[in-house]
């Protein structure tokens, strides 16, 4: 089966680098599956999980907090402010962040803080989901 090289990089360094047969990412305009040989394309990503199907049938999940995906026929790059592979997510920390964000959402009705808390909530939920594997 044909494969495509995927690399996920953040400002803190590369997070994921592998050959996969398919990438499924959630862009702001909807979910998208990318197979090898895709036309060159750029799309911003939602705070979501990126699904990476490997040749041996296994699947990797990486939580990304936004950023964008750049697709070329032979290479897919994802650039995100932060990204974590399922194995490296600190569940306790994510749950704490979730609680904090929930508390803030209940307390404040201020527009900017509200939006920020909402984003924090999304990021925390995304991490927890990826770590626990329910996607």
């Amino acid at each position: 089966m044909k494969t495509v090289t995927v690399s996920i990089v953040t400002p803190d360094g590369p997070v994921y680098d592998s050959e996969v047969t398919m990438v499924v990412a959630k862009t702001v305009s909807g979910e998208m599956g990318v197979l090898p040989g895709h036309i060159p394309m750029v799309a911003p990503l939602a705070i979501s999980a990126v699904k990476l199907k490997k040749q041996d049938g296994s699947t990797d999940y990486v939580a990304v907090s936004g950023g964008f995906i750049e697709i070329r026929p032979e290479k897919v790059s994802i650039l995100a402010p932060s990204a974590e592979a399922a194995a490296s997510i600190d569940l306790a920390r994510a749950k704490e962040a979730l609680k904090r964000a929930e508390g803030r959402l209940e307390g404040k009705k201020d527009d900017i803080d509200f939006k920020r808390a909402e984003l924090a909530l999304k990021r925390a939920l995304n991490r927890i989901n990826v770590q626990e594997g329910n996607i």
Partner: protein, 285 residues
């Protein structure tokens, strides 16, 4: 005659200072190694984002995006990256002097510019001189992560978009090598000098080029700031290492001089004692 005990005391205190500076030098050199690694880990991200931004900017000329268009400058912002602690040689002073000189040249009144300060030394300097410091971050860790400066980077970019200022310059020490760091001025916003790459393939945009710029440009500007911070941190450690090495060397020199003085004084005391004894014995005969 020089007091023996006094010299001994000075030698001891210099020695303990030397121990401290030596330890600081070694700590800084290991931190420098880490900082260099961080800067290296960051390179692929920066190259990639530059590539994509270049490709998109080339594809969607005159998009009219606020971050790409220069507007008449009424207010300028200076982002100054300093350190939290001193004892780093000329690290802070050279950068502060440069910023101060630039401000004096370009501006007549304090209403024409604002300062964003990273690091305690930089913040204190500008606050003390009554400059308009609108944002600051202190107590940054030695190995900062992107999350640590996200807030100030986002604010800096956000305030530009909102029109709080029309230009954003960044000042930091560029790390050239362990012995040479250069104060660098970089214009972050507006992003007028994006290198448009012609080599990369023409992209399809989903949903549209403008929508992508909306996401991409702030992320790009933030990463420029983060890159400068990493560079600055490496310079800080390098600069502190050099300063501490010099201090250690100076202490050695001082100790050598003092030891010489001490030995002379000791020898003089012994000689005097012998003379006295011999004199006394002669008097008895």
């Amino acid at each position: 005659m020089v007091n023996l005990r006094e010299i001994k005391g000075r030698i001891n205190s210099t020695k303990s200072t030397q121990k401290i500076t030596k330890a600081m030098q070694m700590v800084s050199s290991s931190k420098l190694r880490r900082a260099e690694q961080n800067a290296k880990a960051y390179v692929p991200y920066m190259e990639k984002i530059q590539d994509v931004v270049g490709a998109i900017a080339a594809g969607t000329k005159d998009s009219g995006h606020p971050m790409l268009t220069a507007r008449p400058v009424k207010k300028t912002a200076y982002l100054v990256i300093g350190s939290d602690r001193g004892l780093a040689g000329a690290y802070n002073s050279s950068i502060l002097r440069q910023v101060q000189r630039t401000i004096n040249e370009r501006h007549k009144s304090k209403d024409e510019y604002v300062i964003l300060a990273l690091g305690r030394v930089a913040r204190d300097y500008f606050v003390k001189r009554d400059h308009n410091v609108i944002s600051s971050v202190v107590a940054l860790p030695d190995q900062p992560t992107f999350a640590d400066i996200k807030e100030i980077a986002r604010n800096a970019v956000g305030m530009f978009i909102d029109g709080a200022y029309d230009e954003l310059y960044m000042y930091y020490n560029h790390f050239e090598s362990a012995i040479s760091q250069v104060v660098t001025e970089k214009k972050v916003l507006p992003l007028t000098d994006i290198a448009t790459s012609t080599t990369s393939a023409a992209y399809e945009f989903e949903p549209s080029g403008e929508a992508i710029l909306e996401v991409l440009l702030p992320q790009y500007a933030e990463s420029l700031i983060y890159g400068a911070l990493l560079d600055g941190k490496a310079s800080e450690h390098a600069s502190r290492m050099t300063a501490m090495r010099n201090a250690t060397d100076n202490a050695s020199e001082l100790i050598d001089g003092l030891s010489l003085q001490y030995n002379r004084a000791r020898q003089a005391a012994i000689t005097q004692e012998i003379t006295e004894i011999v004199g006394g014995a002669a008097a008895l005969e």
